[in-house]
């Protein structure tokens, strides 16, 4: 097949320690390769990349782009799309709508148009795996995968309460196999179940789950251990208890401590870093310094930020009670969907305002995280799309991280109390291009255990983005000159040239088949679809890539 040469680019590939040196990149049959030994071998195409910055394709490790929750949000918010420019039909691309929750096609075009080639949906209810996989087939270009919600699953809770680590492991492995998922996500562990029982969720890690008797602490440690025992490529992905509640940093810190050295990923950490008291807004403050200090010292942990930016968006979460509280605060419409195999879901429109003390402090706390974490390899860029803002805000975040002056300009505009309640104004750090490359592709790929993503060494997927260097960093990252996916030029000067289907990343951990009859019995007693109708077959996968539990890939 085709041999592509990208000639004389300014390469930023932190995984190989390449920081802005000029060189060529070769892609053969969609995979990066060494320059051909035979000098007579000429490439089929040469891209003249003189003066352009080359990075690997971007990796978004935590977003909400498919599945029942996202689709419900689309259905609920026609007004959100009408206010945004639509995407027009062309002979080779589908039409689309944007706003905070774009349709599937626009999602693929816009992500790749910004230089992102991989995205993971972070919260699919087990019951709806088949739905998510179908939507994925209509999201072009991007390589995708999803995390499945297990932190409130009844079968899992029962095994945890009874100390049945083996059964828990077999169940987790079975459901990963059956659903086509890539990893395990915990959302408000135990708290959704308590919410469904009319309680207010979890007050702390040692609150017990009604009817089951286990605690959030047990759920977190058991599932984190399970993920390690199964050798999954990505650590347990944790959305802590008490999201958004003033004073919740206590819970977050306790969760980090509870892991006792186990690997774990703390997602949208910004929403979990608040000081103060739930009943007194005037005490609301940032506790990033204390959390980041603990985080910096404990290398078993990774995080993504969940940055808030100002404007209109849609909050959507597997954390049902959060949806309820937000609808109470905002007075806006509220969709909630609780499902069997136990997951929750809340959707509420939200407008983040510069002049709101709370919103502006949330913005500052997100930036504090980027600036206070010493090792960029352990922090990934995210807005928790669309919760903090749309993924389309990434170039804006890059601009803010790369310029202290720019941050100060914004700080001067927002609610005046923010400067006094956060450390942001004291933080002089400015990200370099290499550090940006780390937090937008190399680090998230490494955290996910995707050895073929996030770098430009021979053997990696041929996903390369070429940017026109620009002092306006936002413009630079908004409109790459070329985006190459698996060796094909997908975006040329902001125009979509091709729309290949992406691949699906999933895992297939081994398990004891002797554990299945007990799972089947539970399933058939308490759920409303047939046990044999639950597993998805490969017809739902399109092109897929099995990520082996030892980290190697099987395409």
């Amino acid at each position: 097949m085709a041999l592509l040469k990208i000639s004389q680019a300014i390469i930023h590939d932190p995984a190989q320690g390449i920081n802005g040196s000029i060189g060529d990149l070769w892609i053969k049959d969609g995979i990066l390769c060494s320059p051909p030994a035979d000098l007579a071998q000429t490439p089929d195409r040469v891209l003249d990349a003189r003066g352009l910055v080359a990075m690997a394709g971007g990796v978004d490790m935590h977003c909400h782009i498919a599945g029942p929750k996202v689709n419900l949000a689309r259905k609920m918010r026609p007004e959100d799309k009408r206010q945004a420019l639509p995407i027009r039909r062309t002979p080779n691309t589908r039409s689309g709508t944007v706003g905070s929750v774009p349709n599937t096609f626009a999602t693929g075009y816009l992500y790749s148009g910004m230089g992102y080639t991989t995205a993971l949906d972070a919260a699919i209810p087990p019951l709806s795996a088949r739905h998510a996989l179908q939507e994925f087939q209509d999201i072009p270009i991007l390589d995708k995968g999803f995390l499945i919600l297990l932190g409130n699953n009844h079968y899992a809770l029962r095994q945890i309460a009874q100390g049945e680590a083996g059964r828990l492991r077999d169940f987790a492995a079975w459901i990963l196999n059956a659903s086509g998922a890539f990893g395990i996500k915990l959302v408000n562990p135990g708290g959704i179940e308590n919410w469904k029982n009319g309680r207010r969720g979890m007050t702390d890690l040692d609150t017990t789950v009604e009817h089951f008797g286990c605690t959030a602490r047990q759920i977190i440690t058991s599932l984190a251990q399970t993920v390690m025992d199964l050798g999954l490529p990505h650590a347990a992905h944790i959305h802590c208890n008490n999201l958004g509640v003033p004073g919740n940093f206590d819970t977050t810190l306790a969760t980090m401590q509870a892991l006792e050295g186990r690997r774990a990923h703390f997602t949208h950490i910004q929403f979990h870093s608040y000081g103060g008291h739930p009943d007194d807004q005037s005490l609301f403050c940032s506790e990033t310094v204390r959390l980041a200090d603990y985080f910096n010292r404990n290398k078993n942990l990774t995080t993504d930020v969940g940055q808030v930016l100002f404007g209109e968006t849609t909050s959507m979460t597997g954390d049902g009670p959060v949806g309820y509280y937000l609808s109470k605060i905002t007075g806006r419409k509220w969709a909630n969907s609780d499902t069997e195999m136990e997951a929750g879901c809340g959707i509420v429109p939200i407008t983040y305002k510069e002049k709101s003390f709370v919103h502006a402090l949330q913005w500052a706390i997100g930036l504090e995280w980027y600036l206070l974490v010493d090792d960029p390899w352990r922090i990934a860029m995210s807005t928790d799309h669309p919760n903090g803002a749309s993924f389309l805000a990434y170039p804006e975040i890059i601009a803010q991280l790369m310029s202290k002056n720019y941050r100060d300009e914004i700080l001067a505009r927002v609610h005046p109390k923010v400067a006094e309640k956060s450390r942001l104004s004291e933080l002089d750090r400015e990200y370099s291009l290499n550090e940006i490359a780390i937090i937008t592709r190399s680090a998230p790929a490494r955290m996910l255990g995707l050895s073929n993503k996030g770098h430009l060494a021979p053997g990696a997927d041929g996903d390369v983005v070429l940017y026109q260097p620009d002092h306006d960093r936002r413009r630079m990252f908004e409109f790459p000159r070329y985006v190459i996916k698996s060796g094909s030029v997908i975006i040329d000067n902001a125009e979509v040239r091709q729309t290949p289907a992406g691949q699906l990343f999933h895992v297939r951990p081994d398990h004891d088949h002797g554990a299945i009859p007990d799972i089947r019995k539970w399933f058939e007693s308490f759920y409303t679809i047939g046990f044999d109708n639950y597993p998805v077959d490969e017809s739902y996968f399109a092109k897929h890539c099995l990520v082996r539990c030892d980290g190697s890939l099987l395409t």
Partner: protein
């Protein structure tokens, strides 16, 4: 190689799916003997009638007609492509009786030709969608009802008739984790204008006056929030004030309540405002306990169509691609409205279902247009008793029985269809895929011709 013998064995196929109502029961065991379904174990009467009907349409005979004449499938698809290609305002509607895979392809065709796209000719879904976009909805999957619900309300819906196994599987007798005694662990209320079959099984039946659903719901909202009635509503609603108050307290006091509502609410006076009142009442109740709402959807893959149109366009059905991108307007772009205004210059109905017949107004407009009809519900002969004569008719394989794919249950739970019979008819998915390919060819030809006309620059 010797040809395989014709199977005369009796084959049993477990875990098959019935799509005759929103319950989408997936525990049906089908027995097939000599190419015919002879038993449908676990199916209700409705389901059984469907499965046991004669699906072995003759392999002989035409699969497609153009202007009443038998045509080859390819030629019929060519004609259909010409119709849609030349139309300036095509209408594509139906979709409900298809697997999601074919629905996705139908939306793709609509996008390519700039069509107005809608699901059915009914506007019941529209009333709910409008209310949903105003209020949101607190809802849950049917398994949550089975495991947790101790108060079940059916409002303007009679599932015993319309969704026969709803009670047994989810809402009445179903035994769940926190409802181990099934029916004994639930209190069941029916609100309707007449005593339905479901009302006969209820613990409390509230017979309300016709067309006062909104008033009753709004009064309940007030009572739930502790606002007493200013004057008696008994005369207007037919319900004693005391009963209404008790009902509101029962809702606040339950552990997990669910309000199922149907056409009696969404298709009567008040329409979207009734649905809105129901959704608001349920939302309010979450200040006291967990309470959920769920509209009872009709037969076929209606939920699948809603979901597919939504993820492919960003909007639920009633979408117009005429400007080259999706626009959404429930009233303006619904198939029923478009036809009743005498609009559209061509129409394609994908998956006609005789259970939802056309209105006279729709037939009148459709009679005057070039029309394309894809259907699996008929023998291999003309004429079709549908009220107008489609220009192109293509017979497709029955989904669920002959065509594989995905369907969504009324609570948006996706399930896999696995066929048990083969068919000599084409799959709707393949017909739509080839149709789009043909339209694309025509568009490319036109593009090339226009370029040549312009000449070199």
């Amino acid at each position: 190689m010797a040809s395989a013998p014709i199977p005369t064995l009796t084959m049993a196929y477990p875990n098959r799916i019935c799509n005759q109502c929103g319950c989408v029961c997936d525990d049906i065991v089908l027995t097939v003997e000599a190419g015919t379904i002879t038993h449908a174990e676990h199916a209700c009467d409705k389901g059984r009638a469907w499965f046991l009907a004669n699906h072995s349409y003759s392999a002989e005979g035409p699969k497609a007609w153009v202007k009443g004449q038998p045509f080859s499938l390819t030629a019929a698809i060519d004609t259909a492509a010409e119709i849609l290609f030349h139309a300036r305002y095509p209408l594509i509607f139906g979709l409900a009786d298809l697997p999601c895979e074919a629905q996705r392809q139908a939306v793709s065709v609509a996008d390519r030709v700039g069509a107005c796209l809608d699901t059915t000719l009914s506007d019941e879904h529209g009333a709910f969608d409008a209310a949903f976009q105003e209020v949101g909805e607190v809802t849950c999957s049917l398994g949550e009802v089975k495991n947790r619900a101790d108060l079940v309300i059916f409002w303007g819906t009679d599932p015993v008739t319309s969704h026969p196994r709803h009670g047994e599987r989810f809402s009445l007798e179903a035994k769940g984790l926190f409802t181990p005694r099934g029916r004994a662990d639930r209190f069941v209320v029916v609100v309707d204008v007449e005593e339905t079959a479901t009302a006969k099984q209820a613990d409390l039946f509230l017979k309300i006056q016709k067309d006062c659903d909104f008033e009753v719901l709004w009064a309940l909202r007030g009572l739930v929030r502790g606002v007493p009635l200013r004057e008696s509503m008994q005369k207007q609603t037919g319900i004693e004030d005391k009963v209404l108050l008790e009902f509101s307290n029962r809702m606040k006091g339950c552990r997990f309540g669910i309000l199922f509502f149907g056409p009696g609410l969404c298709a009567t006076r008040g329409r979207q405002r009734n649905a809105e009142a129901a959704l608001r009442l349920v939302k309010d109740l979450n200040d006291f306990t967990r309470f959920y709402a769920k509209p009872m959807s009709g037969p076929g893959n209606v939920s699948g169509a809603e979901n597919v149109v939504c993820w492919q366009t960003g909007y639920p059905p009633s979408v117009h691609f005429g400007q080259g991108f999706p626009r959404y307007n429930l009233a303006e772009y619904s198939a029923k409205e478009v036809l009743s205004r005498g609009e559209a210059d061509a129409a394609m109905m994908v998956a006609y279902d005789p259970k939802t017949p056309f209105s006279p107004a729709a037939c009148k407009r459709l009679s005057s247009l070039p029309t394309i009809l894809l259907t699996s519900h008929t023998e291999n002969q003309l004429p079709l008793e549908i009220g107008f004569r489609p220009t192109v008719i293509i017979l497709t394989a029955l989904y669920g029985i002959c065509e594989a794919g995905t369907v969504f249950r009324m609570d948006d739970t996706p399930l896999p269809l696995r066929p048990v019979l083969s068919s000599t008819r084409p799959f709707a998915l393949d017909v739509l895929t080839n149709l789009e390919k043909r339209i694309q060819e025509l568009q490319t030809q036109r593009h090339v011709a226009m370029k040549n006309e312009q000449g070199p620059r």
